[in-house]
Amino acid sequence: MTGERRERRAQLATPLGPFERMAEIRAVEEHIQLLFNEGHVRGSTHLSNGQEAVAVGVAAAARLTDVVTCTYRGHGQALALGLTAKEVIGEIVGRTVGCAGGLGGSMHLVGPDVGLWPTFAIVGAGLPVAVGAALASQVNRSGRAAIAVFGDGAANIGAFHESLNLAAIWQLPVVFVCENNLYGEYTRIQLSTPVSDLADRAAGYAIPGLVVDGQDVAAVTAAVSEALERARADGGPTLLEMKTYRYSGHSKSDPGSYRPAGELDQWLRRDPITIEAGRLIDGGTATAEQLAAVSSRIAAEVRRAAADALAAPQPAVAEMLIHVHG
């Protein structure tokens, strides 16, 4: 497992890597919607289509040994960091091939060997934990950095405040990546948050805060890389606000009808996969036809992965009784 995951992670450094991975995330999320419609997904599932550039940019900038804490909206991040479509989908349909053996579910993907700590279903909970990973790095002088990925809605919870303050006062190697997709569940950011750029909150902790184009994977990679470099050089934490958008509703059962007409269309014009495709074509790395072929290859692979996942066995009852205590 680890070998394949690492290889997949390394692919992000190839010219087509980010495009491919974003295409894969898109395909997986679309597939999960189908699986949900067919009744294979329990509870809730939170798709990240539209936000692929953040996930891939973060993973491309991070070292394999760095730690990433992220949320229930973590399928994209898991795939970006290196988990395979089969283990992500497998987890979401609760099968033994899932990354947590089917015991975690959609909100709890995990892959410690590539830095993915069990994703957090409690808003804000991943921030202090990332701070702790960074603290361990400072104690050990391990060079490891931590990245906390969270939403705009999470910027109003106490853990956000305490985490940024702690990281600042201790100058810890941690990067706070806020995916500002304009909504927390069904509530538009203006109704919950009195400032327009969350990056501005960095000033309250005397740390750098930057707004980043979250639809441009190169911009995300560059911003996260720079922040990680500063972090590793004992320069302390950074708050990065990624302006992005989720194409789907909050969770599987939400049609997103609270969004103003036209908003989605506007964001679709800045689709991260299209933007990256444009860059590859403009730079002469690939032709539109080649990219289309890549996309359909990936779509086919994801279909196969989903079929494999569904065909895998359900976990045995004995599984639920183990690994309870540390």
Binding site: R42, G43, S44, G94, A100, G102, L103, G104, G105, S106, M107, H108, F120, A121, I122, V123, G124, G153, A154, N156, I157, G158, A159, G184, E185, Y186, T187, L191, S192, T193, Y258, Q314, P315, A316, V317, A318, E319, M320, L321, V324
Partner: protein, 339 residues
């Protein structure tokens, strides 16, 4: 009597209280415009307006604390905690603040707030969104705790909670929101806190249940198909629980089985069993028995989660063994992990 889903009964209870008492307000994440994550506040924004029905930022400590303050100032706020786990970032306000207000002010101030939280397993939300966590709200003098078992009790207990002079937590078993039941609306449908309800009468055993385990207990008796009959008692309020009702029943049946959706270690049933066994020392014909969840997090996988929560089959089997042997059967995970 009207047959409605539990979530509709919640809406009706809130609407009736909002209607009859201008000091009632609602706070919570996405409860207004969106009608609630479980649609248990649907339509209330339209009817009562944005001043009284408010969406909040994701700030549980903040809005739970605000509810405490608003309650002390004379309102009767009803807070929705979308999942009971979220109280884990805000418990202080309920336990260490609200529950002490009356005591510290020698009765001059009160904090009549109600916290509604969806709770429990069964829907595949995974281990951070499926806990019951009733124990967080027990052992707190000054705080009451009610748990509905369907639409009827959801309506009646919630209205009583809102009217209570102090803070009350209502844990709504998430798995029941869609279930239908006959409800008597209006004043007559209000169920006083602290009273249990006998769901069925029988002779061989008293089954004490709470929330989603009430329908489980009922189904277990059906599975028994007359092999035994039970007094099935829906506790309705866990703090304070109705000692007299349970005592009366067990005095009649001589046997007590508690069906809990809480862990074997630390679950609420021990208090029931211990109290009754002590009061009826020497009078029971079998030891009190608890049927609980295992001491594990809640698994996501469907077959596993179904196994996690006590099923009617499990309850019927455990009761059957108790009656047959007069001894406590081992919990299923000890008897055999493979069963």
């Amino acid at each position: 009597m009207t047959k409605v889903r539990m979530r509709q009964a919640v809406i009706q209870a809130l609407a009736d209280e909002l209607e009859s008492d201008p000091s009632v307000i609602l706070l919570g994440e996405d409860i207004a415009a969106a009608g609630g994550a479980f649609k248990a506040t649907e339509g209330l924004l339209d009817r009562f307006g944005p001043v009284r029905v408010r969406d909040t930022p994701i700030s549980e400590m903040g809005f739970l604390g605000a509810a405490v303050g608003a309650a002390m100032a004379g309102l009767r706020p009803v807070v929705e905690m979308m999942f009971v786990e979220f109280t884990g970032v805000a418990l202080d306000q309920l336990v260490t603040e609200a529950a002490k207000v009356s005591y510290l002010s020698r009765g001059e101030l009160t904090a009549p707030l109600t916290v509604r939280a969806s709770a429990g397993a069964g829907l595949g939300f995974g281990c951070q969104h499926s806990q019951f966590l009733d124990h967080w709200f027990r052992a707190t003098p000054g705080l009451k705790l009610a748990v509905p078992s369907g639409a009827r009790t959801a309506y009646g207990l919630l209205r009583a909670a809102i009217r209570d002079p102090g803070p009350v937590v209502v844990l709504e078993p998430r798995v029941l929101y869609g279930d239908r039941e006959d409800v008597e609306f209006g004043e007559a449908g209000i169920l006083p806190l602290g009273r249990a309800h006998r769901v069925s009468s029988g002779d061989d055993v008293t089954l004490v249940a709470l929330g989603a385990t009430v329908p489980t207990a009922v189904a277990a008796q059906q599975l028994a198909a007359g092999a035994w009959t039970a007094d099935i008692i829906d506790l309705q309020t866990l703090v304070p629980w109705d000692r007299q009702s349970v005592l009366g029943s067990v005095r009649h049946t001589g046997r007590l089985v508690v069906v809990e959706e809480s862990p074997y270690s630390g679950g609420w049933g021990s208090e029931i069993c211990d109290y009754i066994a002590g009061e009826l020392f020497g009078e029971l014909t079998a030891p009190a028995l608890r049927v609980t969840t295992p001491d594990t997090p809640v698994p996501y996988s469907q077959p596993l989660e179904e196994r996690f929560v006590p099923s009617p089959e499990l309850v019927a089997d455990q009761v059957g063994q108790l009656l047959a042997t007069g001894r406590r059967p081992a919990p299923w995970w000890e008897a055999s992990a493979q069963r």
